[in-house]
Amino acid sequence: MYGLAFPKCPLPIPNSRRKVIQMPMEPMIGLEVHAQLNTESKMFCSCSTKFGAEPNSNVCPTCLGLPGSLPVPNRRAVEYVIRTGAALNCQTAARCRFARKNYFYPDLAKNFQISQYDEPLTHDGYIDLDVDGEQVRIRIRRAHLEEDTGKNIHLATGSSLVEYNRSGIPLMEIVTEPDFTTAEQCREYLTQLRLILRCIGVSNANMEEGAMRAEPTVNLVDRETGEATPKVEIKNLNSIRAVYQAVSYEIERQRRAVAEGREDELFQQTRRWDEDKGVTVLMRRKETSDDYMYFPEPDLVPLEPEPEWVEEIYASCPELPAERRERFCTEYDLPRYDAEVLTESRQLADYFEETCKRFEGSAKMVSNWLMGDVMSLLNEAGITIDQSPISCEMLAELLRLIKEDVISGKIAKDVLATMFETGRSAAEIVEEEGLEQISDTGALESVIDEVIEENPGPVEDVRAGKDKAIGFLVGQVMRKTQGQANPQMVNEMLREKLT
């Protein structure tokens, strides 16, 4: 008997299953992430993957699914998934195949998506997260390769427009086990995953642009009895923040339904996150498990990644952001916040380390300048650190001038801005504009005497032991010297004269 495992219409929950589930139940959350891979060409044809091209300008017979066309896999896309597997402690399959996922929807012209089913390219990995000081290990079930779909535009006139530039862009699907128990863990996972994918250079992982998409599955489980609420999938999440909010909301929604015995609200379903209202909304019930009629893709031969190749990819996996962050804390003695900011981009972290190598001073000083003035110049200009006109050698030189008291920190800010604008070196600018700090006691003495003369009030205060007033006097000297006086020296000399 070829029976069926699906009911034809929504079924009421049978009375036998209507029992009140006992609190407390723990959330059980899994995450499915899709990330577009940073390749030049598509997964199975040589069309460009460039974002923002004219509609249907990057398509060919293969990604249009025209009869007689044949797919050929992009080797770099395969490499990127293996590299991701390496970064996520996965095992790479010795042999795997592509599969056809069949469905009716015009976002793919072929009526099927080439994906992987029972034989993913990499599988069984994990990622360790630090969530508010707590160590959490999330198991990675699999990371596989598939093709992205086209885009639909729905018109008010009753028809839809389809364009296939995105169709066939290599897409990696990363699936976790349902190991998350809080929305915070989900947020940390996505934050770390994004950093990793960027660090290893496989995806720009930008959720706002749709280069990374996340779909959580949320339900509640009683860990003792194994009793659980039906699974709810959430779609339409365009940022990590949205995932965090939607998961939090969904946990609460299910908890309340359980607590108040409203079991009619607990059924297997797909919900949509409504960003404006801050709620999840029912999209559809899921009475049946999806039936995509998967079968091995007959147009593609199996993959057997050569062991030497795989080993090479694993061996060349760079230091990952989390490790690097820890190392920055210990090796450079940086505060955790600094280490976090600096390791947010591999280029920024590299820049920091390269500057430290060239500067015989404190790493914290490098960090301060990098995170402060350099970053704000970059942000203003809308460029990233690797496009900066100031090389790490140039920054190191500027810091050396500060450290050796050639210029004051205040002057250095202006010098940095000029460096950024002109690309000239710090020494050159300081020399040409005569910005050397006045550390010559003789030169300072006359200015200090002037200031003492002109400010009898504060001078009396200092003499009377009001230490605060000295700051004012130092400020006056700095002003008279256009910021070129060495404030440390001015401070000392003032104290000497007034006490």
């Binding site: 070829y2 069926l4 509609p55 060919c60 080797r75 028809s159 389809v162 031969v301 199996p302 990644p305």
Partner: protein, 97 residues
């Protein structure tokens, strides 16, 4: 004869987006039964020692390098489309699942 339930027929028809009349469903229920009967014969063969075959050609690892080639002109892209609007394919309104 292998027993195919009416639900199976309707399910398969739904997956293939076919709208069947009662008569067609009756006929297909019998025909699918016969097809599956044949599959049963194959199932009876002991294949424990045989690896599943998705390809008759013993070949693996056919790749292309990641190089951008020439795409079609947009006029060609939509040339065979039953309906197009500007540079888009136009289809009957599809409601997002």
């Amino acid at each position: 004869m292998a027993d195919v339930s009416r639900e199976v027929v309707e399910h398969v028809a739904m997956l293939a987006r076919l709208q069947l009349t009662e008569d067609e469903s009756d006929r297909l229920q019998k025909e699918l039964g016969r097809i599956l009967e044949y599959a049963d014969k194959l199932q009876a063969i002991d294949t424990d020692e045989v690896e599943g075959t998705s390809h008759v050609i013993p070949m693996t690892n056919v790749y292309r390098e990641d190089q951008v080639g020439v795409s079609l002109d947009v006029e060609e892209v939509v040339a065979n489309a039953p309906d197009a609007a500007e540079d888009f394919f136009r289809v009957p309104r599809i409601v997002e699942e």
